[in-house]
Amino acid sequence: MIARRIAAILFLPMMFAFGSGVYLYLGTMKSKVVKERAQLPTVTKPRFVLPGTVLVVQEGRLFKLNAGSFTEIGPPGAWSQPALTPDHTKLIAVSRSGFYSDLYLLDLDGHVIKRLTKNDARIIDANHWVFYPHVSPDGATLTYSLDSPKYGFQVDLAVWSMPLNGTQAQARRRTTPNGHTGGDVSPIPLAGGGLLFVRHSIDPSTAAYSQIYYQSRPLAVPTPLTSEADDCSQPALSPDGTQLAMICTGGKQTAKVEVAPFTGSALGPAKVLLDGRLYAAPAWSPDGKALAYFAPAGAAGHFQLWYLALPDLAPSASASASATPSAGATPSVRASPSPAPTPPVPIQVTQGVDLSATSPPAWF
């Protein structure tokens, strides 16, 4: 009788332990996709060592990837979209607050040198957003997208320029966006004073398009370099100015990474390098022989940095390669893209992180 009682007493904790075990085991059966949480870049080890240094952003924090390890730079805040000066000695980054954002000049260790814009205001709708900083090739002009002017409910980004060593009061608007579309983004100032940027349009059927435009001078009527149907955006100009990498969706929820020769004012036939995933923010390597970009790795959807060594991108006869903008050239909508003959193989650089795909990598 005593033995039975002892057995029963021993059985109870065993049952409790087994029941708890089943409970905990079921918890481990959750989808890995849902369980996966992004790690800080600094606690991860990249899978591939990129040449040079790359600046990336995760959850408002700036990180420098160099020689296979991450270092956090910059003071606490909501940082995004780091862009290098042409001499690669400083960077411009966006600091975002609840109702506004501003541009700051920082050194490469993330120390703030200067606040470049002041967009905060006491009245909510008097605040402004500024995004997409880009310094001109001569280092003199800072170009960016600013939501000004605004009219009531209409808030659209227009491309503005100001002297990098000047003040915001010297800023001048360069483009007039389509109203109620979100506006013009991703400006790239060119050596001869021209500008590449992305313009958005929305048709009455609610379909939204983005097109890459060329503008010869401020407020001049810009010329589309890509068609509405191609839906191209996120342009990145190669270091020698002869190739333009871009993201094109064709109106779908998947993207292509394309590269087309650029004459300084016109695009040649594009080559599709990658297709069928959510690619974002291509950036050129300093030698112009590779691209870095963001794309999700695995089903969790966290964006990782990828590396793509480029195939031979010799420009075709239809678009001669020239870094010098030709004022007399007639820009035209490019021909349909053709697939690259030998598809390059992308290499995943980071793992376990969740990088901001709207902050293009700054690679130097």
């Binding site: 079921l26 918890g27 849902v34």
Partner: protein, 340 residues
């Protein structure tokens, strides 16, 4: 006799190994079941409380049918009315406006899905009487009125409904670990309602969702689907974004397992109601996992930009309200073609 007593007691106190094994297995089974029951208890509670909501739709002349809602045959095509609502704290419980109304027809056999967004400002006769914006139907008569109003005006048969609150959408997306979206254009809004987790729910805030592929958390995804002030197509543009996010959620949920259900249920606590029973929810999840996004047809009843009469609707002012006047001669053929 005296000598047999202790011997019997010894025999009786010895447990037969087979009986002991059977007893052990039974005890472990029971304890395992108890562990599983504890794990899925929130799902069962939610299943009882939030699914299988009874809807009594009053009969109508144009699309009349007896109440309660008859279910579509198992495995056959069925139509669900998805309803998304404002923050409840602005209204009395269950008297909220529906900011989002999407008709979804599911054809399990062909694995096709059709989504049709109904503009919230569409001026229609309500099933409860009078005319108003269609988003008011739910506030006057709950899901039954919303269903009846849509059925009568669009001449469709609705088998089920599902309602989700804004906070529920945020929590759901966060529990899913976020969603991947290609944002087609910058979504900027200086007058976005600042009514989630704040004391003063009538304020505004500025939002900016930048274009391009990105991983959105629940709060940003809500900003993306809810903002409309700076969209040239207003509510129609927002409807297109809502469908986009629905598809992204669908893509993410197809990776879920049964073990994820308690978390999902917890995220939707008090923020989700449906007429679907647990059986249909379970089968719908299975069907959703098998759908290819290429087989999803999206329809938005967009408005005419400037006074023409070839589109599905046009804007107007009724009693000081900005409303959308339906062009039924354009709308009904589209509805009939997609929701037979």
């Amino acid at each position: 006799m005296a000598g047999q007593g202790p011997a019997r007691r010894r025999r009786a106190s010895r447990v037969h190994p087979v009986r002991l094994t059977v007893l052990t297995v039974i005890c472990l089974l029971l304890s395992g079941l108890a562990g599983a029951a504890a794990y899925f208890f929130p799902v069962v509670v939610a299943g009882v409380g939030q699914t299988g909501q009874t809807v009594v739709v009053p009969p109508s002349s144009s699309a009349g049918r007896a109440s309660p809602t008859p279910s579509a045959p198992p495995g056959g095509p069925f139509t669900v009315l998805l309803l998304g609502s404002d923050d409840d704290s602005k209204f009395k419980s269950d008297h909220v406006l529906t900011q989002s109304m999407i008709l979804v027809r599911v054809e399990p056999a062909t694995k096709h899905v059709t989504m049709l967004s109904i503009p919230r400002d569409l001026w229609v006769p309500l099933s409860t009487g009078g005319s108003a914006k269609v988003d008011a139907a739910y506030s006057y008569g709950g899901a039954a009125a919303a269903i009846a109003t849509v059925e009568r005006n669009f001449h469709v048969h609705i088998d089920e409904y599902a309602w989700i609150g804004l906070k529920g959408l945020i929590k759901l997306i966060d529990r899913l670990g976020g969603i991947d979206i290609f944002v087609t254009n910058p979504v900027l809004d200086d007058f976005y309602p600042n009514d989630i987790d704040v004391k003063y729910i009538y304020g505004y805030k500025r939002v900016a969702v930048l274009p391009g592929a990105q991983h959105l958390n629940g709060a940003t995804a809500l900003e993306y689907v809810r903002s409309r002030h700076n969209d040239i197509n207003g509510d129609f543009g927002r409807s297109a974004r809502q469908q986009q996010v629905l598809l992204a959620i669908k893509a993410k949920t197809s990776t879920l397992t049964a073990a994820d259900l308690p978390d999902i249920v917890d995220a939707l606590k008090g923020e989700f109601k449906t007429s679907m029973g647990l059986d249909r929810v379970r089968s719908l999840l299975g069907v959703a996992a098998a759908f290819d996004l290429a087989n999803v047809k999206q329809v938005v009843l967009y408005a005419c930009p400037s006074g023409c009469y070839t589109s599905y609707s046009n804007g107007a002012q009724y009693g000081g309200q900005s409303v959308v006047v339906p062009h039924w001669n354009q709308i009904l053929p589209v509805v009939k073609a997609n929701f037979p």
